[in-house]
Each structure stands twice: as C-alpha cells, then as structure tokens.
C-alpha cells in the first residue's frame, strides 16, 4: 500500500516538473495578478467619485448631480477600454514602451506631463480626505499635523513596489465591499423617494455649468499605466476588469442617486458633513451607534488606496524623468511637495474649489484622462508592429 502511495507521488513528481510547478506556485514573475488588477479597477472606479463629488455636484446643479456623475463615470469607463487593451497587448512596461516609440527624450517629456497630472489627481484626493476627516470625523482636526500621518503612509507606498500596493488593495477589498454592503443596506432599508430626482435636467444651464466645471474627478484610471507589461493575466481577466469598472461606477451612481433624492431639491442644506459617506439622514439611530458613519469611515480606506496609487505613480514618473531609482528620496520630495500644496496653497476649501473648477482644469483633465490611455494604446500598437517587423527581418536574414 505504501509502495502504491510512493508510486503515486513519484508519478505526480514525474508529470509535475519544476516548470509546471512554477505556474501553480505563488512565485511571481509579474508585479500584479489579474485578480489584483480587477480589484484596483473597482476601487478606482468608485473611490473618489463617491467621496465629495456628489456634494459638489448637488450644490451646483441640485437633483441632476447624479446624471453628471454618471456621465463622468461613463467617460472614465470609455477611457478604461484602451487601457485594458494596452495591458492585454503589451509585454513591456509603460516607460519602456514610450522610450522605444517616442525616443528617450520624447518619453521623458511625456512622462513629465503625465507625472504633473498624476500629482494634481493626488492632491485632489488628499484634499478630499482632509476635508472629509476635518469636517466629519474629527472635531479638532489640524490639517497641517494630520496630513503628516497620511504622508507617512503615502511615502511607504512610494518606497515599496507595485506588488505590495496591489496586494494591499487585494486584502483590503473584502472590508471595503462589506462596508459598501452595509451602506447599501442602510440606504435601501431606510428608503428614499426616487420621485425627488425627477424631472431630470430641468435647469439645463446649471446642468451644463456643473458638467463643465467638475471634470477634475475624471481620469481615475490613469494610474493603470503602471500595470502595463507588469500584470499576469488570464483568459477572462479583461472581462472581469471591465465588469469591475462598471460595477464600481454603478455603485457610485447609486449613492449619488440616493443623495440627490434626499438633497436634490434642497441643495442649500447640503455640505461636506452630509456627503453620502456620512449619510446623516439615513442614520440607523443611536441605539446601535452610528453604524453608517463607522462603515463610511472604514470605506474611506479605498480613497487612501487610490491616493496611494496616484502617489506611487507620480513617484515612478519622477524616477523615470530624472533617471534615478532613488525611491526613498523621490517619495520624501513628493511628500514635501504635497504638504506644501495642501497646507500652504489649499488652506481654504474655497481655494481648492476654485482650483478644481477652473477653466484650465476643465479642459486639461479630460484631455489627459482620455489622452493617456489612447497614447499608451497607440504606442503599444506601434511597438508590437515594430517587434513583428524586426522578427520578420531577422527571419529573412537567417533564411
């Protein structure tokens, strides 16, 4: 009997060579797995869009805020398509891709511009976090001190690898999903009057104004460029990736609808203390404590992770531009720059509001949000064609 067992194991050893075993074990050749990519797309799709954007939109256009959010979500989903195709098609990382197509100098210029955009997105996310915690959760919140705690985490993200960040996101994901489920349950159980969001687009002028003024919140999928050539994918990863983007956007729109239904007709009552993450009107009461608020606070982890992704992407862009892998120094410099922007430039929420709703921002952000994935896709196609031609030429030469 024992001999049989030994033979079984030996035959298994014979068929499962080291090479085969490598594919079943967790030894990773790439920085992220397909599952991690799917989880990150979900977080990027809903995190900052669910945070303070619905309040700003309702303040600008009343009950039509959710439509604008849906438009932004749809826009981002469209930009996700070329990004996913590029991740699927390309085997080299983004920086190598740009260098081989645009040349080293051209690539550095493009990456510098992308880095600036990512830095802008990082500051938008950080400003939202500080605003949320400053007005909602902490009574005596000193931004200049509290931001240091956040920057320590961001610096850690900047000094480690994309693998660590992807894993962090993957392990946190179930907690975020549970919190979302609790929030959805509270919203659904306490109920909201959908009639309040109708008729849609009654005031076209304010609708268009709000639509034009808030595109700072599009382009959430741009940090995905770092996953190009560094993701181990399977056959259906693309479907799941697109699906998670749609679900994430759908959840953001759902909460925007709930908030619009509650405050759409009384936009003067809404401020950052009544955002959907702190659903005062849906409080489950004092008997069980503020379960809704607790869930929303834990849910806000997703925004921290999105900010960390923007931070990481910014650092890697800087690293490529200066041509040095001094991750710790670059991270610290980025932290200092973020601190200066947040504490000295964006001290007043009004300044932040003016900055993100400026005309320049309204033009540049959508262009960058769409331009980066398209650029990546075009470069990937050119690169693949070049590679194909090179292979053919080499084949002919050898023949």
């Amino acid at each position: 009997m024992e001999t049989t067992q030994q033979q079984t194991n030996n035959s298994a050893l014979g068929s499962e060579t080291t090479k085969n075993a490598g594919t079943t074990n967790t030894r990773e050749t790439k920085q992220a797995s397909g599952k991690q990519l799917v989880a990150i797309i979900f977080i990027l799709a809903m995190a900052t869009k669910m945070f303070l954007l619905p309040i700003f939109l309702i303040q600008s256009t009343g009950r039509d805020g959710y439509i604008i959010l849906a438009v932004y979500g749809a826009f981002d989903l469209v930009t996700l398509i070329p990004m996913i195709i590029t991740i699927k098609k390309c085997d080299v990382d983004f920086f190598e891709l740009l260098s081989s197509v645009l040349g080293k100098v051209g690539a550095k210029i493009v990456v510098a511009i992308i880095g600036l955009f990512l830095f802008f997105k990082l500051n938008t996310a950080v400003a939202e976090i500080l605003n949320f915690y400053g007005t909602n959760v902490l009574a005596d919140f000193d931004t200049s001190l509290m931001i240091i705690v956040l920057l320590v985490f961001l610096a850690a993200a900047g000094t480690h690898t994309l693998r660590s960040l992807s894993r962090l996101n993957e392990i946190i994901m179930p907690i975020i999903v549970v919190c979302l489920a609790v929030l959805v349950a509270i919203v659904v159980l306490t109920g909201f009057d959908l009639g309040n969001i109708l008729p849609a687009v009654a005031d076209k002028k304010s609708f268009i104004y709000a639509l034009i003024k808030h595109p700072a919140w599009v382009g959430d999928f741009t940090p995905l460029v770092l996953f190009i050539g560094r993701t181990k994918t399977k056959k259906f990863t693309w479907c799941f990736a697109a699906g998670s983007g749609v679900i994430g956007t759908g959840i953001a729109v759902f909460f925007a609808i709930a908030l619009s239904a509650a405050f759409g007709n009384v936009p003067m009552l809404i401020d950052s203390t009544t955002n959907l993450s702190n659903i005062l009107q849906f409080s489950v009461g004092n008997v069980y404590g503020r379960l809704d608020m607790f869930s929303s606070v834990v849910w806000s982890v997703s925004v921290f992770i999105e900010a960390a992704l923007f931070f990481y992407a910014t650092c890697r862009c800087v690293s490529f531009v200066i041509g040095k892998n001094a991750h710790l120094i670059i991270s610290l410099c980025t932290c200092v720059a973020t601190y200066v922007v947040q504490v000295f430039a964006l001290t007043d929420p009004m300044i932040f509001s003016l900055a993100v709703t400026s005309d320049a921002c309204a033009v540049i952000t959508p262009v960058m949000a769409a331009g980066i994935p398209v650029l990546a896709l075009v470069c990937a196609l050119i690169y693949n064609k070049k590679q194909k031609n090179n292979t053919l030429a080499a084949g002919r030469k050898s023949a």
């Binding site: 030996n10 080291t18 599952k35 985490f153 850690a156 962090l168």
Partner: protein
C-alpha cells in the same frame, strides 16, 4: 610523543584533555580523550584491548583493522580537524613514529529526556519534543519520515563554537531555489559562536529588523515533519530544541499542531477565534481611545451613558489611562514570566487583584479601560508566537488612535498591512493565501479542511511536487 604534543599544544589549558599512554607489543602510543564529552568506558576498553593485543601490529591501519574493529574509526592527518573532533567527544589515538591519528568515536553527552515541550502543549496528539541533542532530534525526524528522499545536509557554523547544523528537506518536494538560498545564507555566516537556533534567525530572514516573524520555530517533530511534507526546509542546530523552518507565511502563526488532531469543524472554529483574537488584541485599545477621544457619536447612547459614569472624575485622559493600564499589564506579564513559579501565584494576586482593583476603586483608572485591556491581552494569547511583536504594535496603535483618532488608526493599520504585503522571503508571499489570493490554500488557512480534501500541497510554499495524495 610529537604527534600527541601537536594536539596538546593547540589547547590553552592542556589539562582539559586526558592522555592515556599504552604499549601494544613493541609500539607505544597515547590515547587523548576529552573526559567531559567522551565515554570513559570506551577509553578504558580501547586501552585494555590494545595492551592485551596478541597480534603484532605495525601501522595505524593495522590497529584500525585488527584492534579497533568494534569501534567507529577514521584515520586523519589534519591536526585542526582532529582537534575539532576531540572537542566533539571523539578520542585520538597517536602512535609513536606515525604522523596520522586514529579518530575513535566515543561521544557521550548527558542529555535530558524527550518530554513534551512547554511552548507547544497539546491535549491530543504526539507529546514528543525535540531536545538539545542534534542526533536525537534527527532520529525523531527520521522515525517519522522513512524515505530516502529525506536529505540531511550537515555543516558547522561558528569559528569557536563549531556548532553542528543540519539542513533537512525532502528532495522530491522542496524547491531547489529555496534550498540553495538557505544554504547560501548559512554559508555566509561568519560568527564566533552559535549557542541556539535563534542566533541563525536574523541571518535567514529577509528583513531581520522587522517586527514580524519570518521563520517558523517549532519544538515538535510532528510539526516539523508536516512542514517538510509541504515543501519547507528545516534547520536543526545542535544544542537547541527549536527547529527553524522556511519559507514561512503568516497563516502558520494561526495554525497549531492540535488543529490536525481534532475534528476539522472544531479546528476551523478555533482558527477563526485566533484570527478574531488577534484583531481584538491589536485594535481594541486603540479603538477604545479613539472613540472616547474623538468619535463618541459612534458609540451607542446606552453604552455611552455607562461609560460616562465610569470615567467621571478620572484624573487621566483616556489615552494616558489606556497606556498606563497597558504598561501595567506588560510589566506584570514580564515579571510573572521571570519570577520563580513558587511566587507566581502571589504575583498574580498582587498584580491583577490588588493593583488593578485598588487602582479602579481609588479612581485612578476606570473599570472599562481595565476590561478592554484585559480582553485585548487575553485575546493576544490566542496566538502565542506573536505576543512579542503584537504587544509593541498594540501600544503604537493605541498611541496613534489616541492622538489622531480613526483617521490615524486606519492609516496605521494600512501602513502595517502594506509593510507585511512587501514581505516575500523565499518566494513565499507572507500574506498568502489572502494576498495573492490562492483559493486552494484556504483549505488550511482560515478553514481546517479534512485531510481527504487536501489533495495538493500549499501553493503558497514553493515546491516541486504539488500533488500530495492521489
């Protein structure tokens, strides 16, 4: 005699060794013995046999062939090697006019018996534990793994201590890269002495300064056997009952040998309790302080009223109070570990009852704070191997929770998790199977599935042979 003198000259105090002169026919010689490490009876028997030898013996090879037939003998001319062997308990036989030595195995150390290790006691399952003798420990392992696949590679570490190390693995299962990596790390060690396996741990770990264990340590042969069967490599150190195993993933902290000797449902339940215990131990004090200091609206009203009554009139802030109770607990714990058992009971009474109770009734600390810390501390003991690191982390989390509220606490947890996610020693992701997600490994992570369902070896541990059972 010149050859014997060469050996004795190596010792700063030659009295440490004993020399027995003998005459065998016309040849005279010396037997050098280390009396503390060798069997005196063997020495006597060898001398007696040589002096009464009827046959004429000329060379050392003749001695080996005819007079020392019943002993384990090797011939060597390397003086340093012979000194080393002498220090390990072997005897050296020197013959006049012969430059070589006969090394006779006469090792005999006093070792303690095989008992149940105090760090891994079980209600069910084997009670054998490793001891300080490498030979005994290897025999305990070999008795459980009767396969030629079991590879045992021996080496010595320590310029002065010359500690014997044994690297064990199943050659058909363990990953070559892991074996090579471990060997490389061990060979690189250049230290004067190794007195315990813990000395090796920082050399084997990827991040020695880390707060988290990156190597498994066990005193039980059944556990080490199970780990070898999963593709790990074990390092035995002579003089230590603790065996190191690598690669190491965090779920091993939550696994206990006993999980496998009871019903799988109960095993799963106990594991869930351990996970819950660790979360409670780590976060409860920080959460308690954060909620009291900043987020009292999150506390249910009825509980809030009770809490307010309890903390009314306290001279300390919630943060200071919690840190005070935490430190008090740590001091009592440390004292009770170091204290002789006879006074341990008195210590518990003074620490827990007198000090705790008096502090509460004197109004220095509140009873909810004592209860929170007590619950957190008891929960901490559900994962005994993590007590040290988690105690430190718990104090850090409490400080951050008290100073920055939930905002800081969440970021601190994220920071810690992010750091743990970066640990990837020997190609085994530290947080696997949770991240990267390895569904099949969940069978032995949170859940303890019945053995018939665990057909594959854990994918989180690099191995050459994924199939465990047909």
């Amino acid at each position: 005699m010149e050859t014997a003198q060469r050996i004795l000259d190596k010792f700063s105090t030659p009295d440490n060794v004993v020399t027995h002169e003998f005459k065998c026919g016309k040849r005279s010689g010396v037997l050098i013995v280390q009396p503390d490490l060798s069997d005196a009876a063997t020495a006597r028997a060898v001398v007696f046999a040589l002096e009464n030898m009827a046959k004429k013996l000329d060379t050392l090879d003749d001695f080996n062939r005819y007079a020392l037939l019943e002993y384990d003998v090797t011939i060597s001319s390397d003086v340093d090697d012979c000194v080393n062997k002498l220090l390990n308990g072997d005897m050296l036989l020197c013959l006049e006019g012969e430059s070589r030595y006969a090394v006779i195995n006469a090792r005999k150390y006093t070792t303690r018996g095989i008992t149940e290790p105090p760090t891994e006691t079980v209600m069910r399952g084997p009670r054998e534990g490793f001891i300080e003798d490498l030979k005994t420990n290897l025999s305990l392992l070999e008795r459980r793994l009767k396969t030629p696949d079991l590879a045992i590679e021996r080496m010595e570490i320590g310029r002065k201590s010359k500690t014997a190390i044994a690297l064990c693995y199943l050659s058909s299962v363990a990953d070559e890269k892991v074996i090579k990596n471990v060997k490389k790390r061990l060979e690189k060690i250049d230290i004067d002495g190794i007195v315990d396996s813990h000395y090796l741990v920082p050399y084997i770990e990827e991040k020695p300064l880390s707060l988290f264990n990156q190597t498994g340590l066990s005193e039980k042969p059944d556990i080490v056997t199970a780990k070898l069967l999963e593709g790990r490599v074990a390092i035995f150190v002579d003089g230590s009952p603790m065996v190191i195993t690598v690669p190491f993933v965090v779920v091993e902290e939550f696994q206990s040998g006993e999980d496998y000797y009871q019903r799988s449902t109960h095993g799963t339940f106990v594991r869930l309790l351990r996970y819950l215990g660790l979360i409670l131990a780590l976060l409860l004090p920080g959460l308690y302080v954060a909620l009291q200091n900043f987020h009292y609206t999150l506390i249910p009203v009825r509980f809030m009223i009770t809490l307010m009554t309890a903390i009314k009139g306290l001279p300390l802030s919630p943060l200071a109070e919690t840190i005070f109770v935490l430190l008090l607990f740590e001091i009592i714990r440390e004292a009770s570990v170091r204290m002789p058992r006879a006074v341990g009971m008195a210590m518990s009474i003074v620490g827990a009852l007198v000090l705790g109770e008096t502090a509460v009734s004197a109004g220095i600390i509140s009873s909810p704070a004592v209860m929170v810390i007590a619950l957190s501390s008891i929960a901490l003991f559900t994962v005994p191997s993590m007590i040290g690191s988690m105690s430190v982390l718990r104090i850090i989390f409490t400080l951050i929770g008290g100073l920055c509220g939930l905002f800081g606490l969440i970021l601190a947890v994220l920071f810690t998790l992010h750091y743990i996610c970066s640990l990837n020693a020997y190609d085994a992701p530290y947080l696997a199977p949770f991240t990267p997600l390895v569904y099949s490994d969940f069978k032995d992570a949170i859940e303890r599935s019945p053995f018939p369902t665990m057909k594959q070896r854990p994918k989180s541990i690099p191995n050459n042979n994924p199939t465990r059972q047909a």
